[in-house]
């Protein structure tokens, strides 16, 4: 990252833009009109008749057909090839952030207040200014700044709609998940959020073993090994399934790197490996101790045991290198 400005310099630049106040009023390209409303209700699938049927609009207490209030911003969108005005605070802040290395953008909040519904033929204008500025903050996406833009729509001098729009500008690649994760880094909070194993009568022997630091593999009557465990129908239901204790050593047979969605108690990305044990069966588990980018089929691994709480322990794989 090559940040050319300090946080104080960025803040000073933003305060200057903020102090310059609202942008000049900009008119919507067209008055409120039926064709744009028709396109919108068709695409959104909104069957409310007040947007298309004058009688229905009047029956609902409007003077005539009204525009969907959620279309407020649509009337003043720039369109294909549109260029934001030089005095637009969003243009100016984006230029500042881009120059400082905060080049990625994501919208986080959008709050609209509708003072009244707009009617066909009305012409709106829009003005934008800067509200709250928060930063620099460490976020899951990266180091960044939150800026709230305040946008007001008017018909003549009448304020008809207000919007607060919050955006995060961040440095790509600096997110919390970007740091390589080692098993020793797991926080108590993460452990508390992890999904607990579901133990059934048929798998109880396996989980009992894990608590003791043993990796137990079910053994069928003919001596062959089976994993995951299946109901031991060949035994009386009061008896426990036979098993052998595995060496806990194996190699990666297949794997995936999980980037999304978020999983409670886990830092992204993480690796789930299907490991072929020395004894022959294959077993799934999280693979730790290696950069996800370096995992390959055939990588030697050994089992580890992670205690989630007094009642729950789960096995995982550690890269052997």
């Amino acid at each position: 990252m090559t940040t050319s400005f300090t946080a104080d310099e960025i803040r000073a630049g933003l305060e200057k833009i903020k102090a310059d106040g609202e942008s000049a009023p900009r008119a919507g390209r067209d008055p409120i009109n039926q064709p744009m409303i028709n396109n919108w209700v068709e695409a959104i699938g909104d069957a409310n008749p007040i947007y298309v049927d004058e009688a229905a609009a009047k029956a609902a207490g409007h003077p005539g057909i009204v525009a969907p209030p959620a279309m407020a911003q649509v009337w003043t969108m720039l369109g294909l090839g549109g260029i934001r005005a030089d005095d637009d605070p969003m243009t100016r802040t984006n230029e500042l952030f881009d120059a400082a290395g905060f080049t990625s953008v994501v919208a986080t909040n959008c709050e609209q207040v509708y003072h009244r519904y707009l009617e066909l033929g009305e012409q709106v204008t829009v003005r934008t200014s800067i509200g709250d500025i928060v930063g620099p903050k460490k976020t899951g996406l990266g180091d960044g700044w939150f800026t709230t833009y305040l946008t007001d729509w008017y018909v003549g001098d009448e304020l008809v709609t207000e919007m607060k729009f919050r955006m995060l500008k961040f440095v790509p690649g600096t997110g919390k998940s970007a740091a390589p994760k080692q098993s020793g880094d797991i926080s108590a909070e993460d452990l508390a959020k992890r999904v607990r194993p579901t133990v059934s009568k048929d798998t109880e022997f396996f989980w009992d073993g894990v608590k003791l630091g043993e990796l137990r593999i079910q053994q069928r009557p003919d001596g062959s090994l089976q994993h995951p465990p299946v109901p031991a129908l060949w035994k009386d239901h009061t008896e426990q399934s036979d098993y052998v204790v595995a060496s806990g050593k194996g190699t990666v047979f297949s794997f995936v790197v999980h980037h999304a969605p978020r999983v409670p108690g886990r830092q992204l990305p993480y690796v789930i490996a299907l490991v072929e044990l020395a004894e022959g069966v294959r077993m799934l588990g999280e693979l730790t101790g290696i950069d996800p980018a370096d995992v390959e089929v055939g990588l030697p691994v050994e089992v580890g045991f992670l205690k989630l709480d007094d009642d729950n322990t789960v096995p995982y794989w550690k890269a052997v290198r």
Binding site: A43, G45, M71, M77, T108, C110, Y117, P261
Partner: protein, 135 residues
């Protein structure tokens, strides 16, 4: 039609399921006059690090409005919609909107809306509508 007398805190709205195929993503982007490439050009969206094209925010606001007025009827007045944006809604995914009345203040009814897709919560919203009194 939903009237004030039939609404109380805890009332749930019928869920709305949106199959957000490519046509939906593109047609809503164009109907909202949002020509950013990530909403209609898959190659450019992928080049920018996205899995696919994804739905725009103006559409999310529109979907929340549709969701509450589908339930409340044409006489309801939408007063505000506040969205918090979560995971993206990519083309091919399904969005399920659910809602619960969280406050009733005079004629104003606040509805908490959640829109989930396969990645998690795409929309967390609060909509305030004014309902007619039952007569």
């Amino acid at each position: 039609m939903t009237t004030l007398s039939t609404v109380e805190v805890g009332t749930t709205l019928p869920q709305l399921v949106i199959h957000a195929d490519t046509t939906f993503i593109v047609s809503t982007a164009l109907a909202t006059r949002d020509f950013q490439d990530v909403h209609h050009d898959r190659d450019k969206a992928v080049a920018r690090g996205s899995k696919d094209i994804f739905v725009n925010i103006l559409t999310d606001t529109g979907l929340v409005q549709r969701f509450v007025t589908d339930w409340a009827g044409p006489t309801a007045r939408v007063k505000s919609i506040a969205l918090r944006l979560g995971v993206p809604l990519y083309a091919g995914d399904t969005l399920t909107l659910t809602g619960t009345v969280s406050a009733v203040d005079g004629a104003d009814v606040t509805i908490d809306v959640v829109g989930k897709d396969s990645l998690g919560d795409h929309i967390s919203a609060k909509a305030v509508i004014a309902l007619e009194d039952s007569k």
